[in-house]
Subunit: 198 residues, 2 copies
């Protein structure tokens, strides 16, 4: 077995953009712009797509009849509303049923912390403090969404699955906040004189 696979991190399959798009359209018919917006508001912290991926994918899905297009003229502007077809839904369901994969993680903050011995402790502490503030902001946002979704789910208005991913976000940032605080303390307590140069 390969060395790198101890975490099961491999990307042997192709792009999943098409499923992210089909998934979005499984909620309701939307334009490309609306899909992007909806992703930015809801799935961005675990999945992102750029325009360069989104628009060509929509065109391919339309060509393969997994979605249909309805062209609207809003004033002078062209708006294309995409709707998922039965074949598209089936394709989405097939993918949802298949095993998921882990993607490589890249956290530059942790890479900088890992090699923190080469710089003054204050440098690492500052990075962590910046991350702490970011997480505190995110926590407020996520908690708001979580509260709204919780009552909505309890009243049977919304699918429980949206709530689950929000809860993943809340849990993650809470843990990161605790890690930031503990790490700052530990650096202050244990950091030894760092490696200087020149």
């Amino acid at each position: 077995m390969c060395l790198l696979d101890i975490y099961g991190v491999f990307m042997t399959n192709g792009s999943k953009t098409q499923y992210a798009v089909l998934g979005a359209l499984s909620i309701q018919p939307m334009s490309g712009y609306e899909i992007k917006k909806m992703m930015a508001e809801s799935t961005n912290y675990f999945w992102t797509e750029s325009n360069g991926q989104l628009y060509p994918t929509l065109a391919k899905l339309a060509k393969s009849k997994f979605v249909t297009v309805e062209k609207q003229m809003v004033g002078e502007k062209l708006k294309k509303i995409y709707t998922i077809t039965a074949a598209g839904l089936e394709k989405l369901q097939d993918w949802l049923t298949q095993d998921f994969q882990y993607y490589p993680v890249r956290k530059e903050l942790l890479l900088k912390i890992f090699y923190g011995q080469n710089v003054a402790p204050a440098v690492s502490i500052q990075h962590i403090q910046k991350h702490l503030r970011k997480c505190q902001d995110l926590l407020k946002m996520y908690k708001d969404i979580e509260n709204k979704l919780t009552s909505s789910v309890e009243q049977g208005e919304t699918s429980v699955y949206f709530l689950l991913t929000v809860k993943a976000g809340v849990g993650t940032v809470k843990t990161e906040i605790a890690w930031c605080k503990e790490s700052i303390d530990l650096i202050k307590k244990y950091a030894k004189p760092h490696r200087k140069n020149k």
Copy 2:
């Protein structure tokens, strides 16, 4: 401001492979193979590099005098031991001092959960159960390393920074384990009949 940037996720700078490599060599002189192995054992859960990135980067760093190469013959085989230079250390320290960036996150599990409404609840539960087992295995590994590193740091043998990244790993998987268990319960409680096809 751009829509996508609400999480501050952008990759405007170039590749950070060179810094990951310089960082590794700041610990001790190593061969390319040893760098890869060391990364797989310690930084893999927040940073990965493939051979296709690693070896060309080592060659470039040697050409730019950020590292020196010492060729050894081990039996019949060639082994190249790389050592960081003063210029290389300075380059590393510069990067460590600069602001870090967030990379886009891709968690296929959460994407599948988010659109779980399109399949039977059992499908989503199975995905989560698989993830739960993976996290439980990782937790054992991380806790072992955490215990060893903690005493090592307390005795002044090891830099506190390695411990911090391990603690980040422990915190993350603990949170994920709790999320998995809660999510399975919530699906069982709230999941409504899913969208069927055909």
